[in-house]
Symmetry: C2
Subunit: 253 residues, 2 copies
């Protein structure tokens, strides 16, 4: 029995999210079906976490146990030949039997992509959120250091967020390693927030981004943002930013 | 009666190309229907050229005559509210009555985006072509100066390419202003060919790119490429590169 670690990329546009759901195609289910077809055995795929409907990934990690003797490169090529082009297996690796994609993860890196524009470029519409112009990136940058470090992120927690079996013991306390905002100037400025931490509550990145949008548009000041972080009260923060701007870049082990 | 010049962007993925076709949605038809709804009058939209199915645009130009007195900004906002998000009107401008988007165009700028990779990133799969790694960009760069200037581009012409009513008089002779290849290094190198000229035959950019791909993969040398340009024989050039990598960036007037 081998324990296989997969690194995955996907376009979340057409899917109900990572997790298997009844009635809607999920990334997990689509992958499991391809693995079953290739390995000719039952499979349970453990993802490093859930991504919501419409959220993308460039470095999701998942693992599964298999009796099949297919070489690792054959596994990558075989799965990619069966999967829709919206889902790609980037690599497959044999790992220790006790490796678990979720329990062993020590952190995650997300990006959130958005554009301050009146008119969204069609070819970015599924991969970036739109914010109204003018947008003060400098004010947003002032907020980012307030996120770094170990905090109770209740203000940015979605209802029903906690995974009680594992994360319940630490409540809404998470450690953010780094947060930065890059502007990529081409014809139009595409802004990318990069945020890494030891874990994220459900909707936490999108709720942080929604609140940062309010700062960028002048509806909240960086001081308001600091107070919202400290308040541990979800009702004070901004709305949840759209899923399509969010990408899981990497899972840390 | 006003003559209105529109600048347009679109994601060509779901469309049969610019030109109105029976049975398949086209960009032209989708725009004409929105204009008719907004202006409450018949409309004939003249595009600066045709783009094939799956080809994108960031700066297509089209014009139409209208009796409607809607302000230009209202036209932009009204059309964008009716159009699918895959098609955006970037601007509307009142122009001289004799302005014609196609006849007055003095040139066009295209980009062709591709990646040398074994596994295509899902979120780029509709907007870039895949070439096998290794790919020699330097060899491609040696070819580009051979394209610049006034040449007979028969080697890169699709069958049935000529618009006899206008361009027939100059045959397959076109002038390329500039051609360059940029590598955008992020996690994976995305390559972008930029090519501008006074006009392009049908499939000309994609046929040039398909031949450059053969050079990049070592199947043809830059010297072979030079001979193909000189030969004026379509049968010598490479296959037509996929539509999805091509974007009409600008129309010059």
């Amino acid at each position: 029995m081998r324990n296989i670690k997969l690194v995955l990329a996907y376009d979340g546009t057409g899917y109900a999210g990572w997790q298997r759901q009844s009635g809607q195609p999920s990334i997990q289910q689509t992958l499991e079906e391809a693995i079953v077809r290739l390995t000719q055995g039952p499979v349970l795929l453990h993802g490093a976490g859930r991504t919501d409907a419409g959220v993308h990934a460039e470095g999701m990690v998942a693992n599964f146990q298999t009796e099949a003797s297919i070489p690792l490169l054959g596994l990558v090529k075989g799965l990619n030949s069966m999967l829709p082009e919206a889902i790609r297996v980037l690599s497959a690796e044999k790992v220790a039997n006790d490796f678990h994609a979720r329990y062993n993860a020590t952190g995650k890196v997300y990006t959130y992509t958005f554009m301050a524009t009146e008119i969204m470029p069609p070819c970015l519409r599924l991969y970036a959120a739109q914010v109204r112009d003018p947008f003060a990136c400098d004010a947003v940058r002032l907020c980012l250091p307030m996120l770094v470090g170990t905090h109770d992120f209740s203000s940015f927690e979605a209802v029903g967020s906690r995974d009680l079996s594992r994360a319940g013991c630490r409540g809404a306390v998470r450690t953010i390693f780094a947060a930065s905002l890059a502007e990529q100037e081409e014809a139009m400025p595409v802004c990318r927030l990069i945020i890494s931490g030891d874990g994220f509550l459900r909707h936490m990145v999108r709720n942080i981004v929604g609140t940062l949008f309010a700062v960028g548009r002048g509806r909240l000041t960086p001081l308001d943002f600091q107070e919202i972080v400290a308040a541990r009260d979800r009702s004070l923060a901004g709305p949840t930013a759209p899923a399509k701007g969010l990408t899981l870049k990497r899972v840390l082990y």
